[in-house]
Amino acid sequence: MKSQKTQSAINTYLKETGGWVASQLEACTRCGICAEACHFYQALGNPEYAPIWKLEPLRRAYEQRFTVAGKLKLALGLEKRLADSDLEHWSKIVYEACTVCNKCAHVCPMGIQLGPLIHEVRAGMAAAGVVPADLAEATEKQKTIGSPLGVTDEMWRERIDWITDEWEAQIPVDKAGAESLVVFTSIELMKFPDNLAAIAKILNRAGENWTVSSTGREVVNFGYFEADEELTRLFMYRVFKAAEELGVKRIIISECGHAYDAFRWAAPNMMKVPKGVDIAHISEYIHHLWKTGRIKLKEGAFDGETITFHDSCKIQRRGGIIKQPRELLRVLAPKSFKEMTPNKEQSLCCGGGGGVISIKEADANRYAVFEMKIEQLQEVQAKAVCMVCSNCRLQFVDSVGHFNLPVKVHGLAELVSRALL
């Protein structure tokens, strides 16, 4: 049965279907190779987790509206129109068994951008309101309270003050005339305050003229996880508005992959962005500070136990910040830094990104994926692992606890701050 909500999903699909979407949907040969790139398929073996299968709602909407073949299939009864039950079925697949990590695009013989296309499938789900309850709840909190974890303005201020005291790290708030606006995630604020303190210490040591904003205070974008276009814009608008008011030259995205993806690559194509304001990820900015001699690091500070680097999908594979964290790690641990395989563009996703970790029902999925990550860690006998995304870090910390592993989990900023000279 097709209700109003299915119609809104279909409308979203048709609205989003430009030549970019259509040409790629047409290019698929049904070879199924993408399945073997998907960590959820690899870990759980469910054929429905094949990335191309995740595009079915979008493909059907497109073909049935725009192609002769699609119309023929409908007329001959070979295929049905999308129904509510389809949306509910695929909602679980695209939100709970996909981190939108886009590894599949790198293995597709045709080069189809499966990740961004799955994002479009999610957009239809969001328009129809068929989103896992936990994800919807966190999104609602970000909309009304300003943070998906429910951090209020007051809590935010208290927390910043506490971090300032506890770590003796000055954090300028709403400083007009600052050059850089640093925007953190609630995850860092509540769960990894050390990361926040570390970033503050590094920037202070470099003599950076920076600030945080009390109005543009959340960099995570749950609207982007859901693929709700309006909310995605709203959450970014809050930050852009703060940047404009403070007159900064750049926005530094803290350790959050999806946020970097949204601000760096999506924002200019979906909204008005302030002119002359650069977007940088904290890891590339720290690298820049080190490269230009504004901070000095103790070489070999973390030599000893084997440390490895986990590539985050949105910062490395889709963000291109691949060599910078490695260069820093080769200074921090020249003898102990070891690469996992596969890595860089071909890296294995943590399993918690794309909103998956916020969905309780997806826990079994992400733990299953993490078992593959454990194998990778064990292959290099890593005693510590470093990353530049706090969403990955949350997944690592939680899963390392779940599996009771003797592996330390670090943010790169935290290591850099401890090695500052």
């Binding site: 430009g18 073996g45 054929p47 073949a69 080069g111 760096r264 071909q346």
Partner: protein
């Protein structure tokens, strides 16, 4: 109606109509997709889009198809990669360097080139046919492929297989009279040409879209495609 008439019909009106449907159908598909509109990408580039596109085509056309086992996805997809690769290679060699096919190209474009020796062509025709059978069995047994394969995909397989098998039999002078097998070959080729605009065999056209898009996306982000 005897086989001579059928041959005249299939090498004449039928093939011509099929070619018209092929060209018109694919043009329609292409225009339809192009007309859906292309949004400009306003995000600032980190690396070079052109570099990404070039690397992507070099890797996709000249490197990876010949060493598929270096891909991590080779595992559990061995048959798809090897049989798929051999199928495309055989198809290319037989279509472009098959002596009989060169005559067709010559009649279309006015010039020809040297073909491959018959034993080599025979070998690759057989390899192509065996690959197709392997791909069919793979599609019938692989859990992901079973799920992905709907009715039209089976037609794809059939309309590609028929010209290959009839062409092979004709070139080896087996079992049938020349007019019979040549007619069957031409009818199956016509069927293929008519079907292509409706199904996913048209991927040879849209390949250039998705491959360019992936290269540009990777290049723009300064990652290796």
């Amino acid at each position: 109606m005897n086989w001579t008439n059928i041959l005249n019909f299939s090498r004449g009106p039928l093939l011509h109509v099929a070619m018209i449907i092929f060209v018109a159908g694919l043009s329609y598909r292409l225009v339809r997709v192009l007309l859906l509109g292309w949004a400009r990408d306003r995000a600032k580039n980190k690396g070079s889009k052109l570099w990404g596109v070039i690397v992507n085509y070099l890797k996709g056309l000249f490197v990876l198809p010949f060493i598929p086992w270096v891909r991590r996805t080779f595992r559990h997809n061995e048959l798809t990669f090897i049989a798929g690769g051999l199928f495309h290679l055989s198809l290319f060699l037989v279509l472009v360097f098959g002596t009989a096919h060169i005559l067709v190209w010559k009649s279309l474009w006015g010039f020809g080139w040297k073909g491959l020796p018959t034993p080599i062509l025979a070998f690759f025709s057989a390899v192509g046919i065996i690959s197709m059978i392997v791909l069919l069995i793979n599609r019938l047994t692989h859990p992901v492929l079973k799920m992905l394969t709907k009715f039209p995909v089976w037609i794809n397989w059939l309309v590609v297989f028929l010209p290959m098998i009839t062409g092979f039999i004709m070139a080896r002078h087996l079992w049938f009279r020349y007019e019979v097998i040549f007619s069957l070959h031409l009818i199956s080729v016509s069927l293929l040409l008519i079907w292509i605009p409706f199904g996913r065999i048209s991927h040879f056209l849209f390949y250039f879209f998705s491959k360019t898009i992936h290269g540009a996306q990777a290049g723009k982000r300064a990652v290796t495609p």
